[in-house]
Symmetry: C2
Subunit: 321 residues, 2 copies
């Protein structure tokens, strides 16, 4: 059995060996190659391969599908970065910042289609794979739309927030795992449980991200705390704090949102603590982590086969960075 590191290593080798993008037109494919070479964690394609390995020997189809998942993810990054006006991605200039808006749109488009090219290479189970992937791809777009809708709303509920992060982030993790499971010959019930595992890992990971952005060790994170607070991002912490706040705290939070000075971040952090939002967020991370590990436990394969996925989830959901 391969562990995460070994799967990523093999995936990177295959990605470099195959020429995913043609040479010409260079202005179309150079930005695609640029982004793909920026050194990502490759969690999504690795999950796809590991989903296969849980049930059976890794086949060629799975490497293609894993590539499709990674291309789709990168396509969404390019377009999301345009919408978010983000200058940096993985520590480098975003595609639109480096090559312009037009290149960003069009190379995103072609990368989305290239994702389908890879998935269509699957010789087994194509209709089933395609239906799952299409559903997921639409959900990812809907999640991005909800995220943007939430920016201008002040009444977002916790349920709505969880739904949004599930659509925007988790379903693609879950989809990759399940596509791998299908290709590995999993039963329907096992494939569904693996999907739920991926979805819950994704939600827990995103909630942990919210928590660490506020309360994490900035040295371990490699960035300053409070980026979400500075940007007035609607996170689990902010929604929960508003929900739990008494009238005074509520007024204080809303007043802070309108400010943009040095004191904003520590003041908001203490409101997160005083309202118990920090504690609630940690509990939510644990709740979805527990669900995920319960999903994994329920999958009907020998326990030793689950070890790589168990280790990866434990690593992703470790509590300090």
């Amino acid at each position: 059995m391969y562990d995460f590191k070994e799967v990523v290593k093999q995936f990177e080798q295959r990605l470099q060996q195959q020429s995913t993008f043609p040479q010409s037109p260079d202005n179309l494919y150079e930005p695609c190659r640029y982004l793909l070479a920026l050194g990502a964690k490759r969690v999504r394609p690795a999950l796809c391969v590991m989903g296969n390995e849980l049930f059976g020997e890794i086949g060629e189809d799975t490497w293609h599908v894993a590539t499709g998942i990674e291309l789709f993810h990168n396509f969404t990054l390019i377009h999301d970065d345009i919408m978010d006006k983000a200058p940096l991605r993985r520590g480098n200039a975003t595609v639109h910042a480096k090559y312009g808006l037009t290149a960003g749109i069009l190379c995103g488009d072609v990368m989305c289609i290239q994702a389908y090219v890879q998935i269509a290479k699957a010789k087994k189970s194509l209709p089933e794979l395609l239906q799952l992937f299409n559903t997921t791809a639409i959900e990812v777009c809907e999640g991005q739309q909800l995220d943007m809708d939430f920016e201008s709303r002040s009444d977002v509920s916790i349920d709505e927030y969880i739904n949004m992060i599930a659509l925007k982030t988790s379903v693609l993790l879950a989809c990759g795992l399940k596509m791998g499971a299908i290709l590995g010959g999993a039963s329907g019930a096992n494939a569904d449980k693996l999907y739920e595992f991926g979805k819950n890992v994704g939600i827990a990971f995103q909630l942990q991200d919210d928590y660490l952005d506020a309360f994490g060790d900035s040295e371990k994170l490699g960035k300053q705390n409070g980026g979400d607070i500075k940007a007035n991002k609607k996170t689990y912490l902010l929604i929960k704090a508003l929900q739990h706040a008494n009238q005074l705290q509520h007024t204080a939070i809303n007043a802070l949102i309108d400010r943009d000075d040095e004191a904003k971040i520590p003041a908001m952090l203490s409101l997160y603590s005083n309202t118990g939002a920090d504690e609630a967020c940690r509990e939510a991370v644990n709740y979805y982590s527990d669900l995920a590990f319960a999903n994994l436990a329920e999958i009907d394969v020998p326990e030793e086969r689950k070890k790589p996925l168990f280790e990866l989830a434990s690593y992703l959901l470790q509590r300090d960075k």
Copy 2:
């Protein structure tokens, strides 16, 4: 046998009956519905259905695939309009002009994926259909890239130009026809000839568009002549005029490109005539029309089955509007 009008009527009915887009998130799907309702000619989906009808009875798969082709076409319109900074489409505000850049990007993305949802509904020949569609979709992106690359180049050859319009416009017509043919049970040879027919019709149509923009009857066209000249668009006429020009004419054309006054259009038109570019363009329209009709003639089905496609091509390539 249905003719073009009847096919379009039936396609519109089906498009309205099925709810192609869910209600929510409204900010995502409202712009999609807006564009789709703007009353297009529906040439591409009609060709798909007519491609099926040429060989056999129209099946459910074909209506889905036709819808997919139309959604893909509309997706490219949304993103092209952003890249071209176009304010109007079909006489109404473009999606990004009406709903903003973010909506334009994201609703284009989801419409592209919805195209795949429709195509994936095909129960027959899915791998073959998908491979053709993927290849075509990539070619359309490449055509758009070349079109933009040509804006800043002064050495575009006629061959490069024909290749660009084939990719940007014709291959999707050809793809729709061939997907219909595949679903209609056509032999490989017949399906390939129908593809070539569509490609040549598309090239002839685009070249005719170049010609009519310059020399057409503005009353019949419903717009002023010379829009391409005003916008310094690289058309067949301009490329050919530069190619055929003597040194004086060459200097005159380049001087006109830098101008933006009333006299620019008539002056350029007379250079097009004096260099023989107008005549060359008409000949090129005829050349690709003749190729198209020869392709249609070679298809091995009873002649009466070809009548609707023959009539549609004749209508699209009629010589005065």
